[in-house]
């Protein structure tokens, strides 16, 4: 029962991996080379961390020519995110759309 959470926590407990993951969240898809340029560690080390992130389902890779592109898989975090904060954001956004609709509606 606890395994999926344990894998996520173990994977993200490492600061280098967490930094890589957060960067992919913020900046979108990146190649290993682009990630290495700012990671402060060598490319093999970055690749090893990306492999572990992939095993945890936190990133996905896509091959294009000789390049491998990585992107964050936000759905993988769902087990960690409290549903109440997810729903609060959901309803806030829905209320924005509701107000837009009301402005367009006839009295």
């Amino acid at each position: 029962m606890t395994e999926p959470h344990d894998i996520l926590f173990r994977t993200l407990a490492d600061p280098t991996r967490r930094a890589l993951f957060e960067r992919l969240c913020r900046e979108g898809e990146k190649t290993v080379g682009a990630l290495t340029a700012q990671a402060g560690v060598s490319q093999p080390v970055v690749s090893k961390h990306l492999g572990l992130l992939k095993q945890a389902g936190l990133v996905r890779d896509r091959h294009e020519g000789r390049q491998t592109h990585y992107s964050a898989q936000l759905g993988a975090l769902a087990p960690l995110v409290d549903w109440t904060s997810q729903m609060t954001r959901f309803w806030e956004a829905r209320f924005d759309d509701l107000e837009n609709l009301l402005r367009r509606m006839d009295q």
Binding site: L12, A13, R18, P79, V81, W91, L98, E99
Partner: protein, 144 residues
């Protein structure tokens, strides 16, 4: 198993009268414009489905007080307990001088929800807050 019940409350002052807001909350083609595609009917006991790009929510109308309040179940049934949610959504409309105070309260639980999710063991909780901030910036209104 931890089935802790929690609530979400979102309130907003809306610059439109309750009658108009009620239409937006109860007419299927209008609900579709701000919430999700649906087969809603303002009838107690009516079962309907809200369909989004990410999945669907099974609902059952519990109470209807025209122009004042509306309650329905909001069950997101999912094989993965991390996504499974059993809840009730209540909308309350209170007239104000310039419009309506709209209050949404959602109360429920995830059947397999775990408190703190064992995160403390890895000293990860402080980072989790950062991550939520990142997610808040990315999510444009879709519940995952």
């Amino acid at each position: 198993m931890n089935t802790e019940i929690r609530s979400v409350v979102v309130e907003r002052e809306i610059a439109h009268p309750p009658e108009k807001l009620w239409r937006a909350l109860t007419q299927p083609h209008l609900i579709a414009e701000w919430l999700m595609r649906n087969d809603f009917a303002p009838v107690v006991g009516h079962k309907f489905t809200l369909s989004g790009d990410w999945g669907s929510v099974e609902c059952d109308v519990l109470t209807v007080e025209p122009g004042k309040s509306l309650t329905y179940t909001w069950n997101h049934v999912h094989a993965d307990p991390a996504f499974d949610l059993r809840s009730v959504v209540s909308f309350t409309l209170t007239p104000t001088g310039s419009g309506t105070l709209l209050r949404m309260e959602q109360t429920g639980f995830r059947p397999e929800q775990k408190q703190a999710f064992g995160g403390a063991r890895y000293g990860w909780e402080q980072h989790f807050t950062n991550l939520e901030r990142v997610l808040a910036g990315l999510e444009q209104g879709g519940a995952q």
